[in-house]
Symmetry: C3
Subunit: 435 residues, 3 copies
C-alpha cells in the first residue's frame, strides 16, 4: 500500500534540486526541431518516456476533428540561404528557428527583392531571430536577425529547404494514472515548439516531473497528462476523447513556467471552479507576488478546454504570461532565459495546488449541537493541536463547506484546516460527505 501523499511530497522537496533536474531535461530537449507534427515531436516523446510511462498516439492526416482537419505531416532535414559568395546567411543546422516552421520544400535562386518577401526579422531586437510558423498556408520562409538582414546586398541568393509536407500523422503523448476515484485532474502542455526554452520546454518538464513523482503517491484523483501540439492537438484530443471529458473535475494548462517573472494564474472560464479557488488560495498564501487573472479567450489550450461546448474547469498556470515578455517567440527564449529556481518554484506551487485539491473534501460535524467537549479528548489547550482550526472545522462542517471554503472563511492556510479535520476525524467528530 502506498503511504506517501501529496503533503509528504511537498514537504520533502528541495525546489532548487528539482529545478536543476528540470533544467537538465530542458537542455536536452532544446536542440530538437519540433513542430505540430513530425519526427521532432516523436523524438521528444521518446525522451520523455524514459521518465514516465507515456502512451504515444498517432492520428492520421486528414482526420476530421470538429471544425478542423489534422494537417499533413511536416519533416525537415536541412535549410539555408546562401549568398553569391557561398556564405550561409541563415542555417537550419545552427538554429531551427531560422526556417519558418512548416515551410514547403524549396530550392532555387532568387533575387534579394524576392528573397525579402520570405524573410522575417525583429527590428526592435536586431540580434534576435523570430519564431514563425505557417501551419495552415503552404509557403516557405526564413527568420534571421535584423542585423544580418540589413547587411544583405543586392544579388542572387540560393534558398534551400529540404522539408517534406505529406500525409502522415499527428502524434501526442498521454499518461493516465488511476486514482482512488474515477474523477480526473487534467495536466496539459503543448510540446510543439522547436528551440524555445520557456515556451514550452519548461511546461513539459514541469508536467514530466509531476507525473513521475505522483506515480508512487497515494492519491485520490486519477491524473491525465497530455503532451500535445498546441491548438490542433487539444482539438484532436477533445474530438477523439469527448466522452472522457465528463470525468475531468479540475485541470491545468502548464506553459512558460521557467522565467523570472511572478506566477500568473489565469482562471478557467467558470471563474470559480475548485481549481480556480485552490490556485488562488495557494498563490495568495505563497508569500510571493502573483497575479490571478480572469479567463480570456486567447493564450494556450485553455482556449479549447474552455470553449463553451466543453467549459471544462481548466486554468492556466504560467509565470509571465503569453506574449508579455519580449523574448516570447524569439531566439532569446533560450537556455539562459529559464532559471532552475523559477522552475523549481513553479513545480512547488503546482504541487501545492494539487495537494489542496486532493485534500479538499466536505465533512459533517457528528456533534453539531453545541461544541463537543474537546478537553475530555485531550484536544483542548494541548500542544500540537490547532484549537482555532478545529473550532472552525467543527463550526462550518454542516455539509455546505469544503475544507477550502473553511480555510478561506477562517483566514487559515489549507494545511492547518486539513490537519484539524484529520484529528477530528480520528476522534469520530467528523464524517466525510460522499458526493
Amino acid at each position: 500500500m502506498k503511504t506517501l501523499n501529496f503533503t509528504d511530497l511537498r514537504k520533502s522537496i528541495d525546489q532548487n534540486e528539482v529545478g536543476r533536474e528540470m533544467y537538465t531535461l530542458i537542455a536536452e530537449l532544446y536542440p530538437i526541431c519540433r513542430s505540430i507534427t513530425g519526427d521532432g515531436f516523436r523524438k521528444t516523446l521518446e525522451i520523455l518516456r524514459r521518465d514516465i510511462p507515456l502512451k504515444v498516439y498517432e492520428v492520421p492526416s486528414g482526420t476530421n476533428v470538429f471544425d478542423w482537419v489534422v494537417p499533413k505531416e511536416w519533416n525537415i532535414k536541412d535549410a539555408y540561404i546562401k549568398n553569391s559568395k557561398d556564405e550561409k546567411i541563415a542555417d537550419f543546422q545552427k538554429s531551427n528557428l531560422h526556417v519558418v516552421n512548416y515551410s514547403v520544400p524549396v530550392k532555387k535562386v532568387v533575387s534579394l527583392k524576392e528573397l525579402k518577401e520570405h524573410l522575417f526579422t525583429l527590428p526592435d531586437h536586431p540580434n534576435w531571430v523570430p519564431y514563425k510558423t505557417s501551419y495552415y498556408r503552404e509557403d516557405w520562409g526564413f527568420c534571421l536577425s535584423h542585423e544580418r538582414f540589413v547587411e544583405l546586398k543586392d544579388g542572387e541568393y540560393e534558398v534551400y529547404i529540404d522539408s517534406t509536407l505529406e500525409d502522415g500523422s499527428l502524434s501526442y503523448g498521454e499518461m493516465y494514472l488511476q486514482g482512488a476515484e474515477e474523477e480526473e485532474i487534467l495536466i496539459s502542455c503543448h510540446a510543439c515548439h522547436p528551440s524555445l526554452a520557456n515556451d514550452n520546454l519548461s511546461g513539459m518538464s514541469l508536467a514530466v516531473f509531476l507525473a513521475k513523482q505522483i506515480v508512487p503517491l497515494e492519491h485520490r484523483y486519477s491524473y491525465r497528462f497530455l503532451f500535445i501540439p498546441g491548438t490542433i492537438g487539444a482539438i484532436t484530443w477533445l474530438a477523439l476523447n469527448e466522452e472522457k471529458t465528463a470525468k475531468i473535475r479540475n485541470g491545468l494548462v502548464l506553459s512558460g513556467v521557467g522565467d523570472n517573472g511572478n506566477i500568473t494564474y489565469k482562471k478557467s472560464r467558470r471563474g470559480n471552479a475548485e481549481i480556480d479557488r485552490a490556485a488562488y488560495h495557494v498563490l495568495k498564501n505563497s508569500g510571493a507576488n502573483c497575479d490571478i487573472v480572469d479567463f480570456y479567450p486567447y493564450g494556450y489550450d485553455e482556449r479549447q478546454y474552455c470553449s463553451p461546448g466543453f467549459n471544462l474547469p481548466v486554468g492556466c498556470f504560467s509565470r509571465t504570461p503569453y506574449g508579455m515578455y519580449p523574448e516570447y517567440h524569439t531566439s532569446a527564449d533560450n537556455l539562459d532565459f529559464v532559471q532552475p529556481h523559477s522552475l523549481g518554484n513553479s513545480y512547488f506551487e503546482v504541487l501545492s495546488i494539487l495537494e489542496v485539491l486532493e485534500g479538499n473534501c466536505t465533512y459533517i460535524n457528528m456533534n453539531p449541537k453545541c461544541e463537543p467537549q474537546l478537553g475530555k479528548r485531550g484536544l483542548y489547550n494541548s500542544i500540537g493541536f490547532n484549537e482555532m482550526a478545529m473550532l472552525w472545522v467543527l463550526n462550518l462542517s454542516d455539509g455546505n463547506n469544503t475544507l477550502l471554503d473553511i480555510a478561506e472563511k477562517a483566514g487559515l492556510k489549507f494545511d492547518a484546516v486539513f490537519i484539524a479535520a484529520k484529528t477530528l476525524r480520528e476522534h469520530n467528530l467528523l464524517k466525510k460527505v460522499i458526493t
Copy 2:
C-alpha cells in the same frame, strides 16, 4: 426597404449641427405659457407636429386616473400688478413666470401687506424670478425678483389675473412608431413648463429630433414618444394605457439635457434593467465624465413609471439633475442657460444608448466545441477583422450572454462586439436566439 440603421445614423451626425437645430426649436417654444392643461400646451404640440406625426389626445377634466383626478383646465390671457402710479410691478406679458401657474382669476385693489402674502421671490438670487405653481390648491399669486420686491412701498396695488379655471381637458401628444418587433422603447418627456429652457424644452427638443430621425431607419423595437404634463400626465397615460405597458421593454425619461453639466443617468427602479446597463456602457465609454446614480423615488415621471405596481424598466437621462443647479425653476433657466453643444451631445449619447438596445441580441455559437478554424474562412490575422472580439463572442455565446454582456466582460466597446457578431453570423458561426 429601409437600409439605414442606428449605427449609420450615429456615425453620420454632427453634434453641433443637431444641437443648433434643437436650440432653434427651443427658442421658438420658449415664450409660450404652458401649464399642465390649456391652450399653451396645445399650441406647443401643434408646433411639434410640424416635425413629427404626433397624435393629440384630450382627457376630460374629472376623469379618474388611479388615485388622482384630471384637473380643471387653466387658461390665461393677461396678468399684472400695478402700483398707485399705474406702473406695472409684474407683467405676464413680459414673462409668464410672473404669475403663479394655475392662479385663479382675480381683479382687486389690495394693501401691500395683503399683496405680500401672494408674492414669491428668491432672496438668494435677487434679480431672478421664481417659477411657482398651485395646481391642486385654488389660489393666486405673483412671482417677482427680490430686487423689485424690496422696493415696494406702502400703498395700494391693483392685482389683475385674467385667467379661467374650468372643466375642459388635459392634452398630451403621443407618437407610436412600429418596429420589426412589438416590444417597445418608451421615450417620455414633460412638456408643461412655461418659459423654462432646460426644464424641459431641452428634453422635448431631444425627443422630437430622435423621433424625426428614427422614422426613416430600420429598427427592431417599436418606439413610443410621449409629450405629457408632468406627474398628472404620466399618471393619466398609465391609467388609460395600462395594457400597453406590458410591451415596454426599455424606456427613458428625458429632461434637462441642455445645460453645461455632466450627463447624469438615473437607473430604473430595477437597477439592472437592460436600459440601465446600456446607458452605463455607453456613458462610461463616452470619454466624458458622467454620473450613474441609483433610482430614488423623486425627480421626474420615472416616479410613476417606476412605481411598484408598474416597475417599468425606465431610467432618466439628464445633464445636471433636477434641483441641483441654482437656475432650476427660475427665470435664469432661459435661452442663455442651454447650449447647442450640450444639446447635441445629449442627443448623440441617447442615440448611442438606443443603438446598443437595438443591437443587443443573444446568439448561440454554432461550433461550440473548441474554436472554429477562423483561418480557413479568412477571418484570422486578416485586416479589418477584430479577432479578439470574435473570440470573445464565440466563447461567450452560450445562450446566456447578450452582446452587451459580452462587451462588458471582454472590456470592449459594444460596437466592436456587434461587428464581430455580424461577421460570425455571416459565416454561419452564430445563430440568433429567439426570445
Copy 3:
C-alpha cells in the same frame, strides 16, 4: 393596555442616569465569588430577582447535556497561603481571584518548589492578579501578583483551601416575557465570573435593566433573558430547551459592555440575519466609531447558539472584544475599569437595536400604480411629514422589502422610515404583510 413602546423608552432615557444605576448594581455584585455552579451564582440570581421576575432552575450534577456532563457543584468558604512567619501571601477573603476557581480542597504544608507548581502570575503586569479556572480537571492553585511572587523566599508554606466539590446542581436564571407574537428575542449573558467587573457583571447589569424596562412596554416579540454559566450553561439550556429554539428569531449575547472602548458587534454565523442587519444599521448611524465583525467560532456563548446544529440568529454585543484588552481576566477588570457612561451608552444602543427589530415589518403599498396623491391627504409639503421617507416607503413596499431594507436603500435612519410607514398606514395607503 400598555401604551409606551420601545421608541418612547429610547427617547426618554438619560444614558448617564441609566449608566450610574447599572454601575451601582455591578458594585453590589462585584465581591461575590461566583463560579459555574454553587452558592455564589445562586446569591447573584437572588440579587437580580429584586429587579426582575427571574425563574431559577437547578440542573443536577451528572446530567448529560449533548457531549457534556453537568459538573459537580463547587463551593468555597476560605483559602490562603501562609509563609513561615504566619503572613498570608494570598488571601481569598481579600480577593476571590486569589484561588483558582474550582480548586479542590487542600490543607498541607509544602515547599516553595512544590507551591510554585500551583501558582499563577502575570509577569507582564506585575501588580495584577490573574483569573484562572480548572473546571474540568481536578486540581488546586492560587493566583497572585508577580511582585509578590518574586519576593517569595525558600521555606515551607501552608496552603489551605476550604472548598467542596460534590454532587449538587448547576443553577441558572431565566425570565420569559410574552409579547404580541410567539417569536422570541433571546438575550443571554454569562454570570459565572467572580470579581470581574466588565467580564461580565456589565453584561448582566445591561440585561437586567433591559428586562426591567421592557416589562411595562407594548412589545411585539416575546423576550427570553438567560443568566447562565458560560459554555456549560448555554449547552445545558440548549440541551434541555431544544424545542424552544425554533421560536428564536433574533438574539444577542451581552458581555463586556462597560469599558471605554468602541462598541463591537460580532455577527451571527448566518452573517445577514435580521439582528445582524439591525445592529449594523443602528451602530453605523450612531455617530460613534464601532466595529462590525464577522462570526468566528470563539468568544462567548454565541459559540453554542451558533453551532451548526442550531445556527441561531444570535450575535454578540460588546465594547472591546474578548481578550483584546490587557485587563481581561485579571484583577484589573475591576470597578475602576467599567464606566457609567459606557454602560449607559451600551444600554442605549442595545435598546435602539431592539427598537428596530420591533418595528421592522413588511408592508404592501395599497396604491401601487403610480404615486398616491399625498396632497389631498395633507401629507405633501406639510410640516412634520417627511415626504422623502414616505415616497421611499411607498415605492419599495412591494412585499419584498422590510422597513429596514427600505431605510438602508434610502440612506435614511430607521426611525424616519418607521414614522413614515405609520403615517401612511393611518391613511390606509399601506397594509402590513402577515408573515
